[in-house]
Symmetry: C2
Subunit: 234 residues, 2 copies
């Protein structure tokens, strides 16, 4: 039977061989929620960068530059890290270079995986169905916050474990812990997360609307997949 | 206000400065449960070793040698890793050199802390009271399993967060996650853990009695504390 494991922090990636796995990278607040939103609204591709200056340099190659550091838009970049920015008509067919504090770092640390896709609550059911049909075992890589485990990415990992429970077997304790937390939280995730450190951090930045949107399941069927270093629709 | 944070795996210790913190090391199944039991039953001191051969060499210095690798007693050692072995009368006043797969590694990675004490469900209330009275912020270091997060150590961390909630503030998301899992599990921890990977591993080794004992709160008032490289009664 296929298995599912959960890497709760990119700083634990050395424990998880990925060469035979489908990796699902998740950064609910807000990198992977933005990526799903952008591709769902017609952006052609997103090239993720761990390094900020490499990302900035893509401007000269006809990419829009986008992203944040510590939750705030990077100076000189075209877009920040709010999913609502990626619904604009003038982004249709365009390419974006994207860098964030945690999400694009997690993608970089997942290199070497058999396949890398992007998950968020916004495309939860689509990702679930994709993993059900896939032949490979799954590793959910939580972007966390500068290496520290966070609740919102853990809840998403738990949602996948729960949704796949009749099809894919949990590998270790992290998927079990995530699944139990998700089942505890799923009736009202906004409420469950109100004490979490990242929600408090973002509330200080006045982006409660972003948080509510990022915690809303199944807005899109789009699954971003990494192909030749660019995220495109799977 | 003092804070409490939880390091869910020794492989995340680089994220947590400890020089001004009281560190509580926990390896419920079974290293720290053994340590508490041994000191409670009159063992004079326990010297923890990350390295197996360094531990073995202590035999020539009038130490009993004790511990496990992968859950099984080390060949040639005097004792294994069952708390029931440490209740023997002939251990009273003796010194033990101890090495385990995870617990003594977590102690080694906590070096540099202002203070290192040992926690387990067996001394939960005593540790709670000790931390309430202490002036320093707290870091709970979960021994985990070869770096991978486990449920039982996470539950103990959550028990401390819950018991200290009116006195010590959670620092980040890991304590919140642990606290919620503990509140979900506390009515019947043996049942909650029945699917966990380490319980399944130990059940294969036929030590269900150990598991039940290690999950029983408040058998002892003893708090092992690291002083000059040896665990002694605080």
């Amino acid at each position: 039977m296929k298995t599912i494991d959960v890497c709760l922090s990119p700083d634990l990636m050395h424990l998880y061989p990925v060469n035979d796995r489908t990796v699902v990278v998740v950064d609910i607040l807000r990198a992977t929620s933005c990526m799903v939103t952008a591709l769902a609204h017609g952006v052609q591709s997103i090239r993720p960068f761990a390094n900020l200056e490499e990302c900035r340099a893509m401007k000269s190659k006809n990419y829009f530059t986008a992203g944040e550091r510590n939750g705030e838009k990077v100076e000189g970049f075209d877009f920040g890290n709010s999913p609502f920015e990626y619904m604009a008509d003038n982004l249709k067919g365009e390419k974006i270079a994207f860098t964030t504090t945690n999400g694009t770092q997690a993608i970089a640390k997942s290199q070497g995986a058999k396949e890398i896709i992007i998950g968020s609550f916004l495309n939860l059911s689509a990702v679930t169905e994709y993993l059900k049909k896939g032949e490979d075992s799954v590793l959910v890589v939580c972007a966390a916050w500068k290496g520290k485990v966070n609740l919102e990415d853990t809840l998403f990992a738990g949602a996948l474990v729960e949704n796949l429970k009749n099809h894919v077997e949990p590998d270790c304790d992290a998927p079990l812990a995530a699944q139990r937390l998700y089942n505890l939280a799923k009736k009202d995730m906004v409420d469950f997360l109100k004490d979490s450190s990242h929600v408090k951090r973002l509330n200080r930045l006045n982006i409660h609307k972003d948080i509510e949107f990022c915690l809303t399941p199944d807005q899109y069927q789009t699954i971003p997949k990494l192909v030749d270093g660019e995220l495109v629709r799977a």
